[in-house]
Amino acid sequence: MSSVISVRALKKSYGSTQAVAGIDLTIAQGEIFALLGPNGAGKTTTVEILEGFRNRDSGDVSVLGTDPAIKGEAGRIWRNRIGIVLQSTSDAGDLSVKETVAHFARYYANPRDVDEVVNAVGLAEKSKELIRTLSGGQRRRLDVALGIIGSPELLFLDEPTTGFDPEARRAFWALIKNLRDSGTTIVLTTHYLDEAEALADRVAVINRGAIVEVSTPALLGGRATSLATVSWLSENGPQSERTDNPTALIKKLTEGFNGEIPELTVKRASLEDIYLEMIGGADVHK
């Protein structure tokens, strides 16, 4: 797979604050790549440099083979190949869903079919409604429709499912996977760890302007080999033990209880546990 984004030694400061302190990244064609990190970690700055919204201080950046700092006509040709879903806009909404999507389609050389896109984001029934009548989640789906109308090779998604109900989130995840399967590369920033786990092929954790680790959600932070926590209820109350061999412990307990173990659970570290540990947050194992 060829790389769609390649970043070497990227740095950016605001005054005396170093927001990005030397980041290296390679994102391959056709993958969903999630950037995780607390607020102020340098996540937004990094993505905005990749999107061409911000200038960098130093480092090499290539997005679809082009420096995102590009201007003029070449910049337009480059933007024609990318889609950006920012945090929601809040304009008056005097246009209908379809009018808006159809208008944005006119900015691009090879737009997708308007009805098809409205359908894909699940707004077919709202197609003729004014944007002002949409719920927060529906507005978000419109944002996504505007991000993909130009048939982008690369799609940036910033906190895409904020304000979604669980059902809408699932539907949205399916849409994003679908785009990935049709060859679109997706860069996702999110605060929802379950979203990163459900969608991302790889995740990068950013903290204090630097990459802590890049891995798959399953392997991040040694998660696959981390200790399991086995909990159960004994005569003396709730018990819990951390072990790297939970099967043996359960076997022993089964013998002790002579059958069913009351309230048995076996818990591996969630992506959230690992993530919080990596960024130096609360230790949830205690």
Binding site: S88, S90, D94, L95, E99, A109, N110, S151, G183
Partner: protein, 271 residues
């Protein structure tokens, strides 16, 4: 879902996108009913008020309304273009509308063209209604000389273009959408007083006339007076003539200055 691509197809031109934006802006404007009614009816209301207050004739057959309609059209150019844009663009910036556009292949020039179109169309409607109301209710006489209509036409076109470019240029000054109205409105009102929109210009103090002569509104108003007043009035102007060529050049210079500032300083984002 297909992502079929025809790599040879070109990104639409700035003009094509600009015209599409003009259509969209007009549609959006028409759907804000209060603002449509206000924009179109306000000059008529002012004409009605001033026409009722000053009922005397300036000379035989020339009412104050006849004098005032010129000021109303000129100040409509400033309200519809400069004021409207310098207030609305910071709001669009706050809403994130501009940043979203920045992330598409739409160039700034298309955005400017769209604004120019909506300003011109709104202006055309506003003037049409004002003239109809003026003729029907306030005894305004329309010029019959084709040369005056020619002046009228280029004044509306060049005036709304200058007003648009200056509105976009000024839109970088208000720090937020909420403060925009407070920053922009006083500028416009003072300019209107200084430029002889509400009074007979030559009755104003000399220093006020000199300050006004720097800005385009004075010239738009004077240009419109040359259209609506008999030529005998030209001698009453400060220079003793309509100064038509000078008017054209000064408004053109402001248009170009506004355009250069807009291209150099336009902000898509709040920070």
């Amino acid at each position: 879902m297909s992502t079929s691509k025809v790599p040879t197809k070109k990104v639409p031109s700035a003009l094509t996108i600009g015209i599409a934006r003009g259509g969209l802006e007009i549609k959006q404007f028409m759907r804000q009913r209060e603002s449509v009614v206000f924009t179109l009816a306000f000059p008529i209301m002012l004409l009605a008020i001033f026409g009722s207050v000053f009922t005397n004739e300036l000379t035989d057959g020339v009412t104050f309304s006849q004098y005032f309609v010129a000021g109303m059209i000129a100040s409509g150019l400033v309200n519809t273009g400069f004021q409207q844009l310098a207030i609305m663009i910071p709001v669009e910036r706050d809403f994130g509308t501009l940043k979203r556009l920045r992330g598409t292949p739409m160039p700034a020039s298309s955005y400017f063209i769209g604004k120019a179109i909506v300003v011109f169309v709104t202006m055309a409607f506003q003037v049409l209604l004002l003239l109809i109301a003026g003729v029907l209710f306030f005894g305004v006489n329309l010029p019959t000389d084709p040369a005056k209509w020619f002046t009228f036409t280029w004044l509306i076109i060049l005036g709304s273009a200058a007003s648009t470019s200056l509105g976009i240029a000024f839109s970088v000054i208000p720090k937020s959408g909420r403060s925009a109205s407070a920053v922009v409105s006083p500028v416009v009102i003072i300019l209107q007083f200084f430029s002889g929109v509400f009074f007979v210009f030559t009755d104003l103090p000399g220093w006020m006339q000199q300050v006004a002569a720097i800005f385009p509104l004075k010239w738009m108003t004077q240009g419109m007076r040359s259209v609506f007043l008999p030529d005998s009035f030209a001698t009453a102007e400060v220079a003793g003539s309509w100064e038509t060529e000078k008017t054209f050049l000064i408004i053109l210079a402001w248009f170009i200055a506004g355009l250069i500032i807009s291209i150099r300083t336009f902000k898509w984002d709040r920070q």
